[in-house]
């Protein structure tokens, strides 16, 4: 006889455990509110948050982001800098350092250098310079040719002039941010249910909702739809759409070997064409991240295959920007899908369901990392207006500590760690210098998949791409989480690493 599916009661259900969903959950745990996050995937940050460029930005980059989104449509970009969205971005940007500090998220302020190689691009740079002055957070100035090569000796010799923003961009690792927020939210009492797909939402006469999931039902008054790429499907379940559809754009990014650390020190890019983007940025671990090439509209939101064309395009564009880079330096590549709504293409859509005000759609136009804390505050305010009792918790714990990163510790810190736990003295991932201790800690903190271990401890993200350490991580996961080896997956059910 089959087991009766479990039933839970909760105050707020958040659908989607990306940066928006988790930030909102964390914000709600500041109050005496029972919050439950459900996600169909096996871990947090498995959708847009995973593949979005790991930058928190304002200033010039935000101006550039507006231009990319324009896609040649001829929008009034100046007006775009005065929207509520921009205010939330600016608020989130200013708050990021505090959040990163209290949640122990590795981050680095990096400069952003746009270069022009011809008069056409120079003209674009001038436009961007003009636009950037309306965007807060940046410190933008023109850079003459000679100084350009002092700043970045490896950029293309064709560069004639540059535009530099020294304060508007912060580099971090997106999934690490989401994981940090998740760990903190959970510590403060949020329930996060993975592998729990939202199947149906039933509205009750009282205004409450029943959420039917693949793993039992949830009774809740409020539902917040933070489902990102699947926000339309969730809204449909509650008949909560207001006449918008989602549109998707994909682009393929490359990650280059960290032995190139120092080749470029700022984010470098050229002014975008409509539909094409080119920039390269240094990541905290030393790798270079290449965003070069297509910005393609797609029908199938799951079309994240890498393609030969995208590879070739990204490689040729990367070489145009920094000629000493070569295809041989690529250690991995992935496709990210950006999601927009077609009703307010250039805006966030944070709205109540027209049928039931207890259901809120949260559709965030990129970037999502930058405004996340402010969006969370806004949604909490909307919930309060709908009658959610917000009584502050006195014992809210605002800080969280990261897993020690052996690679960046001093010798004495390393020595102390090994003395405490011998497993920090066994290096599992040679490429990224990750110890068994870090992997065990990642699993203890909730990494249930190989990718979960990668994102938390960085094991297997180096140049050999898990081919040396993969079997060892598998063994540790089997031991620590008492799983069978056949049930260890790469990123969720079906992604079995070995089938036996």
């Amino acid at each position: 006889m089959s087991k009766r599916p479990p039933e839970r009661e909760t105050d707020v259900v958040i659908v989607g455990a990306g940066i928006i969903g988790m930030s909102l959950a964390r914000e709600l745990t500041k109050y005496h509110v029972d919050v439950t996050v459900i996600d169909k995937e096996a871990d947090v940050s498995m959708g847009i948050s995973k593949t979005a460029g790991s930058l928190v930005y304002m200033g010039l980059f935000q101006a550039l982001s507006l231009v990319i989104k324009d896609l040649g449509k001829g929008m009034d970009l100046e007006a775009e800098t005065k929207t509520e969205r921009m205010k939330m971005l600016w608020g989130g940007f200013r708050e990021f350092d505090t959040i990163a500090h209290s949640l122990d998220i590795a981050h680095k302020h990096v400069g952003f250098l746009l270069i022009a190689r011809n008069d056409f691009e120079l003209e674009k740079i001038k436009q961007l310079e003009h636009l950037a002055q309306f965007v807060p957070g940046g410190t933008v100035r023109r850079v003459p040719r000679e100084e350009l090569f002092e700043m970045e000796p490896n950029i293309t010799p064709e560069a004639i002039e540059g535009l530099y923003d020294s304060t508007g961009t912060i580099s971090m690792f997106g999934p690490e941010y989401v994981i940090a927020v998740y760990e903190n939210a959970r510590e403060n009492g949020a329930h996060v249910l993975f592998n729990t797909e939202c199947l149906d939402i039933i509205e009750q006469r009282s205004g409450s909702h029943i959420v039917r999931t693949g793993d039992g039902t949830l009774k809740t008054r409020y539902i917040i739809n933070c489902a990102g790429k699947y926000a339309d499907k969730i809204a449909d379940m509650a008949d909560a759409g207001t006449g918008w559809n989602l549109v998707f754009y994909r682009s393929q990014a490359l990650i280059l070997d960290k032995k190139l650390e120092g080749i470029i020190n700022n984010i470098v890019g050229i002014p975008p064409d409509a539909g094409k983007i080119d920039f390269i940025y240094p990541l905290g671990e030393g790798n270079l991240h290449v965003y070069g090439g297509y910005y393609d509209p797609i029908e199938d939101r799951e079309f994240t295959d890498t393609t030969r064309d995208n590879f070739d395009d990204a490689i040729s564009r990367m070489k145009q920007l920094v000629p000493c880079l070569s295809a041989e330096h690529i250690i991995t590549s992935y496709v990210g899908v950006r999601t927009f709504n077609d009703k307010e293409f250039e805006e966030n859509l944070i709205e109540h369901s027209p049928r039931n005000k207890n259901f809120i759609n949260v559709l965030v136009r990129m970037p999502g990392f930058t405004p996340a804390p402010k969006i969370a505050e806004k949604v909490v305010g909307m919930l309060a207006n709908e009658g959610l009792q917000l009584q502050r918790k006195e014992n809210f714990k605002s800080s969280r500590t990261a897993i020690p990163r052996f690679r960046f510790l001093s010798d004495s810190e390393r020595q102390r760690l090994i003395a405490q736990d011998k497993r920090y003295g066994r290096i599992i991932c040679k490429c990224e210098t990750v110890t068994e201790g870090e992997i065990v800690e990642a699993i203890r903190r909730g990494a249930s998949t190989l990718q979960g271990v990668m994102f938390r401890a960085r094991a297997g993200m180096g140049r050999c791409q898990r081919n040396w350490c993969g079997p060892k991580i598998l063994e540790i996961m089997v031991k620590e989480s008492r799983k069978t080896k056949e049930s260890v997956t790469f990123k969720g059910e079906g992604f079995q690493v070995v089938t036996g």
């Binding site: 040679k430 140049r463 791409q465 081919n467 070995v498």
Partner: protein, 450 residues
């Protein structure tokens, strides 16, 4: 024992990083000289390196008899355990600090007992190589589970006794690809094919054909991997014929990317030890010394990948050089010339030829020496060595197999014509005329695994 915060300090004459064939063989050679203090660091729990997880045909050149891979590893381990070498397993070197102006070099090693700072007069790098991942090969498609390299496959199957899947496709046609086929067969997996991008395989065609008949799998040559499909676990691969662009779909739940070895030379990044952009390992001279004084390198960290026994003999040779140096016989001001390869050749190793040294050596199958590897299997070619406009050497081959070493008998070069200010360039040129022959001595069938 008192624990210092900056780690335990060790002081030796020679530190060897890597306990595979090259590292152990060097230790064995060094231990023959009494009084020399040697330390060996291996990151795995046991010594032996790659042969531990391989199977057949080991030890031919260095031990003059045949062992299985694990048997060969055990033999080396037993031998080195009997010496006075200070052996550390589960000890991963994470950083090299080169000593300036004659100061000792330092190796930072992480062990379960804490950090170790090993000071040494001589350092030997023998860290081996790794295969390029699917991501590094830029094979397009979905990103599912079930994609391995021969290295990870053999770790799973031979060391951990895990069967990774049911039906596997092998990508690559090097010697190691055949080794992967044997491993898959041992794991009881069906092989659905072996894919070679080039029309000519990068291994001995007869051996590949024999194996394909014995294990019943097709060989697809001259096809590119179009894309991988399967959202979660691999479901298949689309292949594309290079000539007629015909598409072909192969059903599999596992992919093994074989070959395309790269030296595992991460320790030399951010040190003054110079890297060769062709081989991607450190630049060495014919004494196996890198450009940094008293730092040596041997084995597959120089040239991913060569046979284990060649690596072992290189280890020995490096040890001999270290000993000469230690005893003060070594003379520094030797005449030398740089050598490099031109496409389609991939690299030449060693990259610096010490003329006096090589004139006294005889290149043969049984000795390591200067060698080149080609990117593609070449038929009817001549290998030529040029110094400026002077031809120093030429030799014809009916077939040069890609990704396997081809020896250059450098002692036979016409050194009287060389211009020392220029690098000697090794070229492979088409050679239609003349009697080309399959040169047994250099490109002969070598049934050993990597």
């Amino acid at each position: 024992m008192e624990q210092r915060l900056d780690g335990h300090i060790k002081d030796v004459d020679v530190a060897v990083i890597g306990g595979g064939p090259a590292g152990i063989s060097a230790c064995l050679e060094l231990s023959k000289t009494p009084g020399i203090r040697t330390a060996l660091f291996e990151s795995e729990a046991e010594l032996g390196g790659m042969p531990r997880s391989c199977h057949l045909f080991f030890g031919l050149r260095d031990m003059k008899r045949l062992y299985s891979g694990p048997g060969y590893a055990r033999k080396l381990t037993r031998q080195v355990n009997r010496t006075g070498v200070d052996i550390h397993t589960n000890a991963t070197a994470v950083e090299i600090v080169t000593g300036q102006n004659g100061a000792k070099h330092q190796v930072k090693v992480v062990t379960k007992d804490g950090l170790m700072n090993c000071k040494c007069r001589y350092l030997l790098l023998a860290t081996g190589c790794f295969e390029l991942s699917r991501e590094g090969r830029r094979i397009p498609g979905t990103r599912p589970a079930g994609i391995f390299t021969t290295g990870s496959l053999q770790q799973l199957v031979n060391l951990k006794k895990i069967r990774p899947g049911n039906k596997a496709l092998i990508i690559g046609s090097e010697h190691v690809s055949l080794s992967a086929a044997l491993t898959l067969n041992r794991a009881g997996m069906k092989i659905t094919g072996l894919v070679s991008e080039d029309r000519l395989l990068h291994t001995y065609p007869y051996a590949a054909r024999a194996l394909s008949i014995a294990l019943n799998f097709p060989i697809f040559s001259g096809v590119a991997v179009g894309s991988i499909y399967g959202k979660k676990r691999v479901e298949g691969v689309q292949l594309k014929h290079k000539d007629n662009h015909q598409l072909l779909e192969v059903d599999c739940d596992t992919i093994v990317c074989t070959g395309k070895f790269h030296p595992d030379a991460a320790l030399i990044y951010k040190t003054p030890i110079k890297e060769d952009s062709d081989s991607m390992g450190p630049i060495v001279d014919t004494n196996y010394m890198t450009r940094s004084k008293n730092i040596y390198a041997a084995g597959n960290v120089l040239h991913g990948a060569d046979m284990h026994d060649v690596c072992a003999m290189e280890g020995r040779r490096a040890a001999e050089s270290i000993l000469k140096n230690w005893m003060g016989i070594y003379t520094e001001s030797e005449k030398c010339v740089a050598v490099s390869a031109e496409k389609p050749l991939r690299y030449v190793v060693p990259q610096t030829l010490l003329i006096d040294d090589i004139r006294n050596r005889k290149t043969s199958y049984w000795h390591p020496g200067v060698s080149v590897q080609a990117n593609h299997t070449l038929k009817k070619v001549a290998l030529e060595a040029w110094s400026g406009s002077e031809k120093l050497y030429s030799c014809k081959y009916s077939c040069l197999i890609a990704d396997s070493r081809v020896l250059l008998p450098v002692e036979k070069f016409r050194w009287e014509k060389v211009d020392f200010s220029k690098p000697v360039i090794i070229k492979a040129v088409e050679s239609q005329s003349g009697k080309a022959r399959f040169r047994l001595r250099s490109a002969c069938y070598d049934p050993t695994s990597r």
